[in-house]
């Protein structure tokens, strides 16, 4: 049975697609057959971040509308062969994602994949709702910043009331907090919300802390998921997050200023 995980946030620009790309790559790299699905109809970006924008022929909406089969739309990643991408339409609108259509595609994907990562658009409207509706688990991507935390709280409320599990009264969607763009120097100066602050307000288990890093921009530019940069702090932080998703214990790193102490010399900064 496939694990369906939505990567959502409410707030835009906090790192959902970056995270979806790295988490799915990380899971696939561990041997799990993984598909990452772009739900951002009209403003697709997953294809760009995964470096397959030139290979998109058919997309998610085509499959829902019966113009193409799932196999025709799925793109196999060139770096990790257990990883597939289902891109979405750039020209249609979010209403093209019908509940029944999405259900049908997810059911079909569940037959052959171990993990289905749903990359949600920003907001709380139809596109975001469709991305989270069928999820078993949710990674709530949050920046340590007031509007992001507020929006994450809102999306949590929606997960708890409008997901299929909520509507059917089933076991609730398992929630994970992923704090991104974390800057320990600013936290120590009291300028930025700390991990503890955000954990206290959102009250959901912490999956990981991804430090602010220059490699993220470079990764998007190259279409190379951050997790593939094994030497960078952000890449390693994503690897830790994947490990925890798989049930492994990993101590939280990258939460303190790496400039001092001998531990900083063990991890090359990024």
């Amino acid at each position: 049975m496939a694990r369906i995980i939505v990567v959502t946030s409410g707030k835009g620009g906090v790192g959902k697609t970056t995270t979806s790309a790295s988490i799915s790559t990380g899971l696939a790299r561990r041997g799990h057959k993984t598909v990452v699905v772009d739900f951002d109809v009209g403003l697709r970006n997953l294809d760009l971040i995964m470096n397959c924008e030139r290979r998109v022929v058919y997309d998610f909406v085509n499959v829902i509308q019966g113009d193409a089969t799932l196999n025709q739309a799925l793109i196999r990643d060139k770096r990790v062969d257990t990883l597939y991408i289902l891109p979405t339409s750039q020209t249609r609108e979010k209403e093209a994602l019908t509940k029944e259509g999405v259900e049908k595609v997810i059911n079909e994907l569940s037959e052959t994949f171990d993990y289905i990562i749903c990359d949600s658009p920003a907001g709380i409207e139809h596109g975001a709702l469709m991305a989270l509706y069928y999820a078993d688990e949710a990674i709530v991507v949050t920046n340590p910043e007031v509007s992001s935390v507020r929006d994450s709280d809102r999306i949590l409320g929606i997960l708890q009331s409008k997901s299929r599990r909520a509507e059917m009264g089933g076991e609730p969607v398992k929630e994970h907090l992923l704090l991104t763009r974390y800057n320990p120097v600013r936290v120590e100066r009291g300028e930025m919300l700390s991990v503890a602050d955000v954990e206290e307000i959102l009250a959901i288990p912490l999956l990981g802390v991804i430090p602010e890093s220059q490699v993220v921009l470079n990764s998007s530019n190259q279409g190379l998921p951050v997790i593939l940069d094994n030497e960078s702090d952000a890449g390693q932080a994503y690897e830790d997050a994947v490990a925890r998703l798989l049930g492994e214990e990993r101590e939280q790193r990258f939460m303190t200023n790496q400039k001092k102490g001998f531990f900083s010399r063990m991890f090359k900064g990024g």
């Binding site: 007031v146 935390v149 919300l193 602050d197 307000i201």
Partner: protein, 67 residues
């Protein structure tokens, strides 16, 4: 400081979340009716839905001005 502001706004919004959508409109309309008879300020009419087990109660609080 940012944390305190956040805690306040998040707590407030969570309280509002389960309330039905029509409440703000209802409050405005009630204000208009009452103002035909008594001059009151916006915050003197408060409406809230209280869900107690199997029944829901619409709680309406109207404070009248001092004589």
């Amino acid at each position: 400081m940012a944390k305190e502001r956040l805690q306040i706004i998040v707590a407030h919004e969570r309280g509002q979340r389960d309330q039905p959508d029509y409440l703000p409109q209802l409050q405005q309309e009630l204000l208009a009716v009452i103002r035909k008879y008594v001059q009151i300020s916006d915050d003197m009419v408060q409406v809230e839905v209280d869900r107690n087990g199997s029944c829901s109660v619409l709680e309406l609080n109207v404070t009248l001005p001092e004589r």
